[in-house]
């Protein structure tokens, strides 16, 4: 359904459409709709830029909220990835452990991580601690699930072969099992990062935070600071895209593609 080369009009259609849309939106919120309901794009951009780079006392401290979210995300993800891989390897290696834990995991898996917000608030106190636990949990579950599956999927011949050369268990784990399970683990990291991020944004709204982008969205509503809400949404969108595009693609290129494992991921 596509021609050899997009025509001139087709190539520039998106820019035209976006320009038109932005102009229409700007006009709409300047002339017709109350800017408290729908702020103009220019206002959102100004608020964002002032908040990110401006004087902290005058403008909304967007930079601080963003930094707070990113720190929690990084900490939660790292914790979740490490504990998830360790737990997943343990369960993948031991049949007994797997039989013991699989009913519990089967029960926990279908519950959205965000639904634990009230429990986390009661147990860990509302705010950063509860949020960190939830973000870690969201990442942990994905890593746990994919890693244990990846370890179980390691071809037995690999293990037998290296055993005939007299390899010890630690060596087998490090040099055979983990690399072989890596595509699964990497898929888990992708899933876990996305899960952590959305849980973070949700938890900052629901788990009594006093900082963070989710909190910013939530709090700004109470003051009818609609421009701040949209600027928070804008930053959330940018970070979401950046996480998916820049971060993960770069890791993928460095590891999976270089090792020639990219095809295994699709299988």
């Amino acid at each position: 359904m596509e021609g050899a080369r997009p025509a001139f009009a087709e190539r520039y259609a998106p820019y035209l459409a976006f320009g038109f849309l932005a102009a229409a939106w700007e006009l709409l919120s300047r002339r017709i709709v109350d800017p408290l309901i729908l702020p103009a794009p220019s206002l959102i951009l100004t608020t964002t830029i002032l908040g990110l780079f401006g004087v902290a006392d005058v403008s909304y401290p967007i930079a601080r909220h963003t930094a707070h979210s990113l720190v929690l995300l990084t900490a939660g993800c790292l914790l979740g990835i490490v504990t998830g891989i360790v737990g997943g390897v343990a369960v993948g290696l031991s049949g007994r452990l797997e039989r013991l834990l699989s009913p519990l995991v089967g029960f926990l898996l279908p519950i959205p991580a965000i639904a634990w917000a009230p429990v986390a608030m009661v147990w860990f106190g509302s705010g950063a601690r509860a949020i960190l636990v939830m973000v870690t949990y969201a990442c942990f579950v994905d890593l746990f699930y994919t890693t244990s599956g990846g370890i179980r999927a390691v071809p037995t011949q690999y293990v037998w072969q290296i055993k005939t050369f007299g390899a010890r268990r630690g060596f087998i784990l490090w040099h055979v099992m983990l690399p072989s399970a890596f595509p699964h683990i990497f898929a888990g990291i992708k899933l876990g990062l996305a899960a952590s991020w959305r849980t973070l944004v949700g938890a900052e709204m629901f788990a009594g935070a006093s900082f963070g982008l989710g909190f910013m969205l939530y709090e700004a509503r109470e003051f009818y600071a609609t421009d701040v809400m949209f600027s928070a949404l804008l930053i959330v969108a940018v970070i979401s895209l950046a996480l998916e595009r820049v971060g993960l693609r770069a890791i993928e290129r460095r590891t999976l593609e270089r090792w020639g494992l990219a095809r295994a991921l699709q299988g």
């Binding site: 898996l109 279908p110 639904a115 917000a117 429990v119 949700g202 969205l217 949209f230 969108a237």
Partner: protein, 276 residues
């Protein structure tokens, strides 16, 4: 690594039922022995008691509390997913057919895809206020993106010769959409439904946390916080999990079996990951 077939005693030891029982027993004992606050750290017995309490009617002749909340949530989910599927297919076909629409909207869809849908809740709350409308709109929005994406991809993948053949026989534009484009995209849509339902389920819970005035599973769990009723939270979470599995494997699995698996496009779905 080949395992010797375990004897009956071993099999009983390894059965999931027993391990679940053992786990519950350990949990019960650990909390009783450690002297933790039973209200804040409920043992399985108090969760079961809360479940029974919620399943009983609050007064003669009324609906049980849990059923009220569950039916409200399920109703919202059903409406939202229906809207998302219908609107998603329409928008997806449009994007797939019209190359200008594709050029303009495909980047937007790709950019919206990774945004956590929870972020829309406060804005919808501002525009629509508390209530089912806000919850349904946010949930439908979250559920529609996979449908739009997959429909557009499926439509674009159609061999143009099929369309030209149909056209030669005098078919109109709607016939092409109905007999070629939607069936072609259906494979993608059906496999996207799993994603869609999962996304919708968790967005619904999040939206019900703050946008539900008086009912819904999310509301039940979240409002239990005011009374520190962790046992009620756990009962709600269990229903959430059980129902999530039912939705994904019951509804989506059935649809997949009837369509994708029967057409031989994909193998029988593995009993794997659920709606989280």
């Amino acid at each position: 690594m080949t395992r010797v077939r375990p004897g009956p005693w071993r099999r009983l030891l390894g059965s999931p039922l027993l391990s679940l029982g053992m786990f519950l027993g350990l949990w019960e004992m650990a909390i009783r022995v450690s002297g933790l606050n039973l209200k804040l750290f409920p043992p399985p017995s108090s969760i079961a008691a809360a479940m029974v309490r919620l399943l009983g009617p609050p007064a003669e002749g009324t609906t049980p509390v849990l059923l009220t909340h569950l039916s409200v949530s399920v109703g919202r989910l059903a409406i939202a997913v229906s809207i998302a599927t219908i609107a998603g297919i329409a928008v997806g076909v449009f994007i797939g057919v019209n190359r200008y629409a594709y050029r303009c909207l495909h980047p937007v869809i790709t950019a919206l895809f990774p945004i956590p849908p929870y972020a829309y809740i406060p804005i919808m709350l501002l525009w629509m206020g508390q209530g089912s409308t806000t919850i349904v709109i946010v949930t439908a929005l979250a559920a529609s993106l996979p449908v739009v994406y997959n429909t557009a991809a499926g439509v674009r993948g159609v061999d143009p010769r099929y369309i030209r053949t149909l056209r030669t026989f005098g078919a109109g534009g709607f016939d092409v959409v109905r007999h070629v484009l939607v069936p072609a995209a259906l494979i993608g849509i059906v496999s996207g439904l799993r994603l869609s339902f999962g996304q919708a389920w968790r967005t619904l819970v999040g939206a019900e946390f703050i946008a539900a005035p008086d009912a819904g599973l999310g509301y039940l769990i979240y409002s239990a916080r005011e009374f520190l009723a962790v046992d009620v939270m756990f009962a709600g979470l269990m229903i959430l999990g059980v129902f999530g599995v039912l939705v994904v494997y019951g509804v989506v699995g059935r649809i997949e079996e009837r369509t994708v698996v029967r057409w031989g496009v994909s193998a029988k779905p593995a009993w794997g990951k659920a709606a989280r």
